[in-house]
Symmetry: C2
Subunit: 321 residues, 2 copies
């Protein structure tokens, strides 16, 4: 019986299939491909597959012989939170390929907040032609970037390219991260929040990051502070930020992630003042570049796997990312 | 009688006044400052001033001895269009200081169009949490930039910094312009429009630029083409682009300038599909950086003026910019 790879993805194009098939064959394995509507066939294949590459977690519930599960997403908090979902001895990798698309989203909403677009858009919807609001620029801006992984780094690169004066990275240990002007450990967050012009969050959902931007920390922010969250909704105290926005205690926010998702229809966040709300689209996989990179990273690790080398994108299950 | 400079500006801060006063004094002149509400006093001063530095054109209507009028705006089409407004022998300079703020506006609306924000924002206003629209990126994008002056250059720099694949500049003569991958003369526009992904216009209002993006040229565009205008409303056939948007013949547009301004309340442009409309705010003077640079450029030319050197920012009255 051949060693099988179950590839169950909604975004595959012919050139992706060709590439994965070739790398699999070179390593003595056979890849089988399933897309939208192929759920049942994919589960049958997953049952006896050695490797699974999927956005969906469903194949894990029927896999009996899987040795490596490659998640096509960056976040794997849901897998880490369900002990037993990943069979004993199965390696888990994730796909850190969302940096570019999330960074472009972040630049977009940062400029929208700095340039007062929530207010201008409201006027324009009312057919009011009125200018003159004081605006700010990324040029010369000082940014606090919480999360210095691939996403934080891509964001920092773009802010530097657009002339930001300083990007301070914040991570668990404060270990220096490339691309940042300085890196601080998360326990020093309270020192820098009171003078931050813009706080961007791109952290995974873990016990440590839950309500990282708590009610107390939101209360520390300057009245002209802007908050952007492109990681996981759990990182922000949503009720507290809704209140701070509506009371004008901060100048604006852009949230691409919420708790829960989808946001319930009666949630007060929908109508918060100076908020740019987007339905978890900053890091979706509709960008050709992101899809290609997703497949490229999997193929790199598939070469490692078939050669008996360690996988490059292994998740540390104890940390959750 | 001392040689006087009439400075009539709404945005002056103490450090601006200090700087202008010092440069004037060093050149043997006296600067007098007028702001909002000082109209009458400013006109009295303008009457016998040798130099006038102003956003408003009103001082020109009473100036009797002015030798140099520095417009705090980039566009001076209105002055060039009124023969006699500028006294014979009076030099005219403009303020090319809006590149940074207009370029940030352009990056913002470019990303909003590429990432389908007009549609997402409409859903979010209806409390619909829905993702998955195919999006595009500045990374790898090919851009046609009509206008290769200071504004076009600042825009090209930012698109390059964000990974654009190619920025083709278009100007009158096709003379190579720094910052562009290639520069074409405007008469070759029809060759490149049919394959352009994004067309950005930043040209002054002149006879030559009127309806530069005509109905015929709009009809040449790809169905996925995006159009951005941050120059003057006259450059685009507004009725034709409204129709193209509503009929889905182009994918989207962002217009910061219209004809006329303010846009009349019953204009069909207000509700055009996939349009980001802003009330001529891309290049306003509310950004500290823009204000500082405005004063800095004037002071540089004031040093030239008092030393008897040619002014650096002279407008060619026959061209209109």
């Amino acid at each position: 019986m051949s060693r099988e790879i179950c590839v169950y993805l909604e975004f595959l194009e012919p050139h992706h299939i060709e590439k994965i098939a070739a790398v699999a064959a070179a390593g003595g394995m056979t890849a089988r491909f399933f897309g939208k509507g192929d759920g049942e066939a994919a589960m049958a294949c997953a049952r006896q597959a050695e490797v699974i590459y999927s956005t969906s977690r469903r194949p894990l519930t029927c896999a009996e012989q899987v040795k490596w599960f490659c998640s096509a997403t960056a976040g794997v908090d849901d897998i880490c939170a369900q002990p037993g979902l990943l069979p004993a001895g199965c390696q888990l990798t994730n796909s850190n390929v969302f940096g570019l698309t999330i960074a472009e989203h972040t630049v977009m909403v940062a400029l929208m907040l700095l340039r007062r677009m929530p207010e201008y858009e409201q006027w324009v919807r009312g057919r009011i032609w009125r200018g003159g609001l004081p605006i700010r620029s990324i040029h010369g801006l000082e940014v606090v970037m919480v999360g210095t992984g691939q996403i934080g780094r891509c964001i920092a690169d773009r802010f530097h390219a657009l002339g930001a004066a300083k990007v301070t990275g914040v991570n668990r240990s404060g270990r220096p991260a490339e691309g940042f002007d300085e890196t601080l450990p998360v326990f020093r967050l309270d020192e820098i929040l009171p003078r931050a012009e813009m706080v961007i969050l791109a952290v995974p959902s873990t016990e440590q990051t839950a309500h990282l931007l708590s009610r107390e920390r939101i209360a520390m922010l300057r009245p002209d502070a802007l908050v952007i969250n492109v990681g996981r909704g759990t990182a922000v105290d949503q009720q507290a930020i809704t209140e701070a926005l509506n009371e004008g205690r901060i100048a604006g926010a852009a949230l691409d992630v919420t708790t829960p998702e989808p946001l319930p229809e009666d949630d007060p966040l929908w109508t918060a003042k100076n908020l740019i709300l987007t339905p978890h689209v900053s890091g979706n996989c509709t960008l050709a570049y992101t899809r290609d990179l997703n497949v490229e990273l999997f193929c790199g690790d598939l070469e490692n796997y078939t050669a008996g080398r360690p996988l490059a994108h292994l998740v540390d299950l104890s940390r959750g990312y």
